[in-house]
């Protein structure tokens, strides 16, 4: 079959079309994707994006009605109103603007850390699943060891020893979730390892690199997409928890977890300080969980998914 490239693309196209149809019919997947699109929109357009050092504005719009970092003590702890849709915090900052601006951190942390984890995890998992034997044992024992720490403990220790900031936070979360991706990639690779098309490629004398990237990897995409989506939800939860503990992004940057950290002392009199950032976290996480669940229904991945 592989001699006839045309036939293969037709088959792929049909496969792709079927995926789109099933995806569109899956309520969870569609709602999840909808939430994620809105989240992205907010993350991009919440504030202007100015490239540092060269002072070039690459995104000139801003959705925020007020400066998220501008304090105004006379205006502190205002209840939600038309002027301040979600009220103001203990320093008089507009919570609505801060929630919008916080989307950027959540999306940035979730996506970059899981992208990094995907690159390393997929490589490790597929290499382990494809070569098996000692390579597999060595790699997977190392992954087991990383998974022997509660994720939050591992992440907060890494961030704490390296100094809490955005970059270290992303790296720590990428490290924590690499073994999750690796295990899924390995079990997907194992399940295609003995398929006839892989054996055919071996018999044709294709190189290992070719087989791994062209034959094994494409067949692992389904489970990896599902796991990746669920893990972005995890990462967002973990980012919120770390920021809540003061071990995530540092002020004055607004992140949802950090807003709750700064607001919960005032929760008794001004619950909106906690309620709205919490709502934002829940909405974003629900979005990725829905997408993950929907993709799982549609793709029906073989092998394990770790929740």
């Amino acid at each position: 079959m592989s001699t006839n490239r045309f036939q293969l693309t037709e088959e792929r196209k049909a496969h792709y079309g079927r995926f789109i149809r099933q995806f569109r019919n899956n309520q969870k997947a569609v709602i999840g994707l909808g939430i994620i699109v809105v989240l992205f929109f907010v993350a991009i357009f919440a504030q202007k994006i100015v490239v540092p050092y060269i002072d070039v504005t690459i995104q000139p719009f801003s959705l925020v009605p007020h400066d998220p970092e501008a304090t105004n003590v006379q205006n502190r702890e205002q209840a939600p109103s038309m002027e301040y849709l979600m009220g103001t915090d203990n320093l008089g900052r507009d919570i609505f603007s801060r929630v919008l601006a916080g989307a950027r951190i959540s999306v940035l942390v979730g996506f970059t850390s899981i992208s990094i984890a995907m690159i390393f995890g997929t490589t490790i998992g597929i290499v382990a699943g494809y070569y098996q034997g000692l390579v597999d044992e060595g790699l997977m024992r190392a992954m087991d060891a990383m998974m022997s720490f509660p994720p939050i403990l591992l992440a907060l220790t890494i961030v704490a020893v390296m100094e809490p900031n955005l970059v270290n936070l992303i790296l720590a979360l990428a490290f924590v979730y690499t073994p999750f991706i690796a295990r899924v990639a390995r079990s997907a690779a194992l399940s295609v390892r003995n398929e006839s098309f892989v054996e055919a490629a071996v018999a044709r004398g294709e190189s290992d690199t070719y087989i791994i990237f062209r034959e094994v990897l494409p067949n692992c995409v389904g489970p990896l997409l599902v796991q990746g989506s669920i893990n972005i939800a995890f990462t967002m939860l973990l980012e919120a928890s770390l920021s809540f503990l003061g071990l995530g992004v540092q002020p004055p940057t607004s992140s949802w977890g950090l807003m709750i950290n700064q607001g919960w002392a005032f929760m008794g009199d001004a619950p909106w300080l906690v309620f709205f950032p919490a709502l934002a976290i829940a909405t974003a996480v629900i979005g990725f969980n829905l997408l993950g669940d929907g993709l799982r229904d549609v793709l029906d991945p073989k092998g394990e998914i770790i929740e």
């Binding site: 060891a145 990383m146 509660p150 907060l156 020893v161 809540f244 929760m267 619950p271």
Partner: protein, 319 residues
Amino acid sequence: MAFVNYLLKRFGFMLVTLFLVTLITFGLTKILPGNVALLILGPNATEASIAQLEAQLGLDQPLYVQYVDWVAGLLSGDMGMSLRYNVPVFDLIALRLPRSLLLAVTATIISVTLSIPLGIIAAVRKNTPADLTASMLAFIGLSLPIFLWGLVFIYVFALTLGGFPTRGYVSPMVDPIASIHHLILPASAMGVALTAYIMRMTRSSMIDELSEDYVEFARSKGLSERAVVLRHALKNAAIPVITVVAFQFSYAFGGVVVLEEVFSWPGIGRLTLTAIENRDIPLLQGSIIVIALIYMLSNFLADTFYAYVDPRIRYGGSE
């Protein structure tokens, strides 16, 4: 004995993993910036006294010697002295660990009592409004961080309704009533957070079982639906659920790090955070390794139990 072989193999794996876990813990805590001797002696210390203390603490030794010393100490229950409290790390952990276990175990019990009946009801009434509501709530529950459940419980039950303390711990030995009073909020917050997952698992494995032939057979024998569900299907659905409960316990134990901070619960989670704040390396190493050990053990027990009741796992090859 396939199961004994399986058990030995898993146990061997766990020892290898444990070795790697000590390596990671030691390596991570060694990155922590700050000169330990300087921290102990204060900024006015002379270079000579710093060097002397470093020699005394073994910090002038090569890293692998320090590592071997540390592991040897661990095996004999000696985790060094805490820099912040100036008492053995072992004693600090021995005092704090039971409090965290109390919290995690109570939370697991609460979540099991809530989630299993809910899961069964949702499965039996599959696709009815009751099921959809329960499933939707569980989905939302999965999407909130544990600390937020803590805040919700503080807001509703302590600040609004009143009657519960927002923070602190009382030993059950000193005052059992006050102890339970302090335990209820943090344990329920965590219990509810865990409920979502166990409920989903119970629901889906009950649905699987209810569609099996033997259930149809039991129904056709004329057994009441109640008897079919409780006596036949539940027994088989329990297997994955019990595994999940064990996993959830380990999850709860990981969650104590944040939840203890919310409720000022003086357990091992807060101890870890204190160790980080104070750059207390021996204490940090000790608490991390103990938390990881308990986390690993409960996962190991879950795996083992699963393999014991479901032989397919043992022959499956891929763990």
